[in-house]
């Protein structure tokens, strides 16, 4: 088994280094960002189910809004915005 290499992304502008295969939701948590998004009324939301069902973890990835952070593997250079 080859060792996992690292992947570098940014979350809200902060550089984050994670092992390859890490999903964006984990990288967001590792970056210390508590909320992935806001509800219609402005309440913070974050990954809940972790399996692509609840849609609470949605973030903007490379300019595309409402991507499921828990279902998206991190790739080098990815720009993640979670607000």
């Amino acid at each position: 088994m080859r060792p996992l290499s690292d992947v570098h992304i940014t979350v809200n502008g902060l550089p984050v280094r994670v092992p390859e295969g890490t999903v964006v939701a984990a990288a967001v948590a590792a970056a210390g960002v508590a909320a992935s998004r806001r509800s219609v009324r402005g309440e913070p939301r974050a990954a809940l189910c972790g399996m692509g069902i609840c849609f609470e973890c949605r973030v903007t990835i490379d300019g595309r809004p409402h991507r499921l952070a828990c279902q998206t593997p991190c790739r080098d250079g990815m720009v993640v915005v979670a607000r």
Partner: protein
């Protein structure tokens, strides 16, 4: 007998709620009978498009009158109605569509409704996410949108503030002097107003109503994707096709940034379940005009049943030959828009006051025969 309410409204959709608010404000003792959620029927499956529609002179008169009333009423109901005057953009794909645009503009002009014809580049500037090869469109700035279930609830609250009482229950029959409940008891009322949409025919089987099922879908939030309610100018041909299933391009920007996507029409479908084939056709029509829509997530789809009449006009007024029974139903796809005008016309007739617009085109007697006893 008529001990109890002056007026009992059967159905708390937006039409029933508007009638309750109007009659309660006039000082009547009003009851509203509804077994389910307020605005939970066709009201929840309407787009809430407050639109002047010109399928016929009577339709234009009622929609324009009602739209003016919404303009006065909605702000006073509060921000929760989400009333915004985003305008309608009737989109034309080709030269035939542009001819329809100019015809529509002329009919609006004669009715005193502003409308601006846009050529292809102007349309593209107004709505950059429309596909670029469209011929143009007609911008009708005074049209708007609101959130209909909320508006119904607020209208019912206004009725309650004026003394109206909501009764949770179902009418299973009508008789002079009231409505019959499932246990056989009679809820007494001087007049009963049947405003139960397509279900009105369960109480009054002779009503010439047919259910026209419609699908809706809503996307995630993408603020600014579109700015106006976008409707294909061929909508009337699609919407009122007498037979067969049809879809039309009709997409609305919600204040949340979501896109509410319509519309489909199917006659006499038994169930309210979402039909994937129909939904797919409807979404394909939407994506044909707004290609970028295909990349967005649709988060929910649902259906509702419009109450269609043979002449595409609602039934507003007394039921011929049945003293004390009144109708406010048959609004097809325009019940949200015309709820306000319906309530005014109905109240004027019940109270013996002159209506603001002629009431004759909407009288049930035109379709049910017999002399209307007003």
């Amino acid at each position: 007998m008529a001990e109890g309410f002056d007026a009992l409204i059967v159905g708390a959709g937006i039409v029933g709620a508007a009638c309750a608010a109007e009659l309660a404000a006039a000082g009547l003792c009003v009851g509203v009978l509804e077994p389910g959620a307020v605005g939970g029927g066709a009201t929840a499956a309407g787009m809430g498009h407050i639109v002047a529609m010109d399928d016929s002179p009577a339709q234009l008169a009622l929609t324009r009158y009602s739209q003016t009333l919404w303009g006065e009423l909605a702000p006073s109901l509060g921000a929760a109605t989400e009333y915004t005057r985003c305008g309608t953009l009737w989109v034309a794909a080709d030269a035939a569509g542009m001819a329809a645009v100019r015809l529509r503009q002329e009919r609006y002009r004669q009715a005193g409704i502003p409308g601006e014809v846009l050529d292809g580049p102007a349309l593209q500037e107004a709505e950059p996410n429309l596909r670029p090869d469209l011929a143009g469109g007609l911008l009708v700035p005074e049209d708007g949108v609101l959130y209909a279930p909320r508006a119904a609830a607020l209208l019912l609250q206004r009725a309650a503030d004026a003394g109206a009482r909501r009764i949770r229950g179902q009418a299973v029959g009508l008789r002079q002097g009231g409505a019959v409940l499932p246990d056989g008891s009679v809820l007494g009322a001087g007049v009963v107003v049947v405003a139960a949409g397509v279900q009105s025919a369960e109480l009054l089987p002779e009503l010439p109503l047919r259910g026209k099922k419609g699908h809706l879908a809503i996307t995630d939030r993408h603020p600014g994707f579109i700015r106006h309610q976008l409707v294909e100018v061929g909508y009337l041909q699609s919407a009122h096709a007498a037979a067969g299933d049809s879809v039309a391009f009709n997409v609305q920007p919600r204040p949340t940034g979501q896109m509410l996507i319509g519309s489909s029409r199917q006659f006499d479908r038994p169930g309210t379940e979402v039909e994937p084939a129909m939904l797919a056709r409807m979404l394909a029509a939407a994506c044909a005009y707004l290609p970028g829509l295909a990349a967005l997530s649709c988060i929910r789809s649902w259906t509702g049943m419009r109450a269609a009449t043979p002449d595409d006009l609602p039934l507003i007024g007394p039921y011929p030959g049945r003293p004390g029974v009144w109708l406010a139903t048959g609004h097809e796809g325009l019940g949200i828009t015309t709820a306000t005008g319906t309530a005014r016309l109905l109240a004027a007739q019940i109270l013996g006051r002159p209506p603001a617009i002629p009431a004759e085109p909407y009288l049930p007697a035109r379709l049910l025969g017999g002399a209307a006893v007003v």
